[in-house]
């Protein structure tokens, strides 16, 4: 894992920043939300995919690409979480200030 992180740090950083931006926007975004049922279904799907990656079922390059995708996805999620959390702090502070 350390080897992968060192080898792909640029791409992972990209995924993290992408996530950070998305998380930043998501707090004030008025668009459509994914329903709770879909989030659960997608979580199960991700869990299955993680299971496949851990079990090393896919061979050769497909296996590598899956690992790479999951790593990028993980960094994206972390970026999203941090972005949303920070934006929420900023938004809350602005709302608390007298106009």
């Amino acid at each position: 894992m350390i080897y992968l992180a060192m080898f792909h740090w640029g791409w992972l950083l990209g995924a993290f920043l992408l996530g950070f931006c998305m998380g930043w926007i998501a707090v004030v975004y008025r668009g459509r939300s994914v329903s709770r049922a879909w989030i659960q279904r997608l979580s199960v799907l991700v869990a299955v995919i993680i299971g496949i990656a851990v079990a090393k079922v896919l061979p050769g390059r497909f296996g590598y690409w899956l690992d790479l995708g999951l790593a990028l996805f993980a960094f994206y999620l972390v970026g999203c979480a941090i972005g949303s959390w920070l934006r929420d702090i900023v938004v809350t502070r602005q709302q608390g200030r007298p106009a």
Partner: protein, 467 residues
């Protein structure tokens, strides 16, 4: 936490650029990653001993194929690849190197190069053997066609190294090591090479045995050439050692007293047994020829030349056959020297004196038996006697002053008669000769010194024209 859950419902639009990022990352990074892992995997195997090792990477999965020389080595090599950072899976295509039964190694030498065939037990051993071959065969091309197999006998390397040193002593030939059995065939480079190889093989490592040693050596040649024009006897070729050299030179000196001896002999091992005795006998036969060549090649004795008179041809042949040791084949091509012009009694007397000036007829001590070394001189005296057929010859025997006068008298008479017998046996008519013995009564030198006594022990010829 609840907020995070709520916000996460709106994170999905980022997945589209993330998917694009993923595709680009996969497109760009796959080949560099595979190259990097291949290099790391190969580096991890640097200290392992493998044959036909190959590392191929697809994604992060390594396909590792190799032939190992032991199960332990195989496992540790696979573990080394598995431990390489970044490797996800190792497809293990390793196996053990095949066993060779029998374990055969061959070094073959021809005029151009030395070829190493067969199998070596380990790459290091293969390299060491090839390097040793290049060192031992300095300047000769070495072609390494050795493969690698398991189950070599213990101390294989040491045995192969020793055998390579023997290959260096060959002109051409083959050395085969089959398990612990050593077979050699071919031709040694030098005289004595065969013996040197046989001696070196005694140092083979424990457990190795010589199954067959069929190394031949160049013929061991001794040559003697008698040239009456220059009055020389030229000795060339080889003698086993300085002792035999001295003995043969001394024998040649006695048998060819009237010739100048040119000694070009060299010492070398590799002589057949009984060499000195056989060559001494053959030199005796050569001394009876007017002109001739003696070639002793290994055990074959080849004598060619001209005998001084008819009866000598048969005598020389028969003498060689009788006196040479068993197993020494003879090839005698002896012709008859053309008769020299007849001379009168005065010239005949001079010729006798000339022949006896440098040498004398020798007898065994206190005996009337003519020493074999005097055969050449006697044959020349026979020839002289034949050139003056109308003369009568008195043969006079003399002894030194040592011993009883009556014994010396008797001995001198018997010795004169022995010489007469020799001349008659050679084909001269007996009625031309008379013998007389003078004992020690007519010394020509002092009897007080060995040199003087030697001069006094003599046979004289007195030639008279027949009335």
């Amino acid at each position: 936490m609840h907020g995070l859950y709520r916000w996460s419902a709106k994170w999905w639009p980022g997945l589209i650029p993330l998917a694009i990022l993923w595709l680009v990352a996969a497109w760009v990074s796959t080949i560099p990653l595979e190259t990097d892992l291949t290099a790391r995997g190969t580096a991890a195997l640097k200290n392992t001993i493998l044959d036909k090792s190959s590392v191929t990477v697809a994604g992060r999965d390594v396909t590792f194929a190799a032939e190992a020389f032991s199960e332990e080595g195989r496992r540790s090599a696979v573990a080394a690849v598995e431990a390489t950072p970044g490797v996800r899976l190792v497809n293990d295509d390793t196996r053990l190197v095949a066993e060779a039964k029998p374990f055969v190694w061959v070094a073959e030498r021809d005029n151009v190069r030395v070829t190493l065939w067969g199998t070596a037990p380990l790459p290091a051993s293969k390299a060491r053997i090839a390097e040793a071959a290049r060192t031992a065969l300095n300047g000769t091309e070495v072609s390494d066609r050795m493969g690698l197999k398991r189950s070599a006998p213990p101390r294989f390397d040491a045995a192969a190294m020793l055998l390579l040193d023997q290959v260096a002593k060959l002109k051409e030939g083959k050395v085969t090591l089959s398990d612990t059995n050593v077979s050699l065939s071919g031709m040694a480079r030098d005289l004595g090479g065969r013996e040197a190889i046989a001696a070196a093989l005694k140092n083979l490592p424990e457990g190795f045995t010589v199954a067959a040693n069929e190394i031949k050596a160049p013929p061991y040649v001794f040559q003697a050439n008698k040239d009456p024009v220059t009055g020389t006897l030229t000795l060339s070729g080889y003698v086993p050692d300085n002792t035999v050299h001295a003995a043969l030179a001394a024998a040649a000196g006695r048998k060819f007293a009237n010739e100048k001896i040119v000694d070009n002999l060299k010492a070398s091992i590799g002589a057949p047994s009984g060499f000195a005795a056989a060559v001494t006998t053959a030199l005796g036969a050569l001394s009876r020829l007017s002109t001739g060549t003696l070639v002793v090649s290994d055990r074959e004795v080849k004598l060619s030349g001209d005998a001084l008179y008819d009866a000598a041809v048969g005598q020389i042949r028969a003498g060689l056959a009788k006196e040479l040791p068993q197993g020494w084949p003879i090839k005698a091509e002896i012709a008859l020297k053309p008769s020299a012009a007849p001379v009168d009694a005065t010239v005949c007397q001079q010729l006798f004196e000339q022949n006896l000036a440098k040498s004398r007829i020798r007898f065994e001590t206190a005996s009337a038996s003519i020493n074999a070394d005097s055969a050449g001189l006697l044959d020349r005296l026979v020839e002289v006697a034949m050139r003056c057929p109308t003369t009568k010859i008195e043969i006079a025997g003399h002894t030194d002053g040592d011993g009883d006068a009556a014994f010396n008298q008797s001995l001198s008479e018997k010795r004169a008669m022995a010489v007469e017998d020799y001349l008659v046996t050679a084909g001269l008519p007996a009625d031309r000769f008379s013998t007389v013995g003078y004992g020690a009564t007519q010394p020509i030198a002092t009897n007080d010194t060995e040199e003087g006594r030697l001069q006094n022990r003599r046979i004289e010829f007195l030639v008279r024209q027949q009335p």
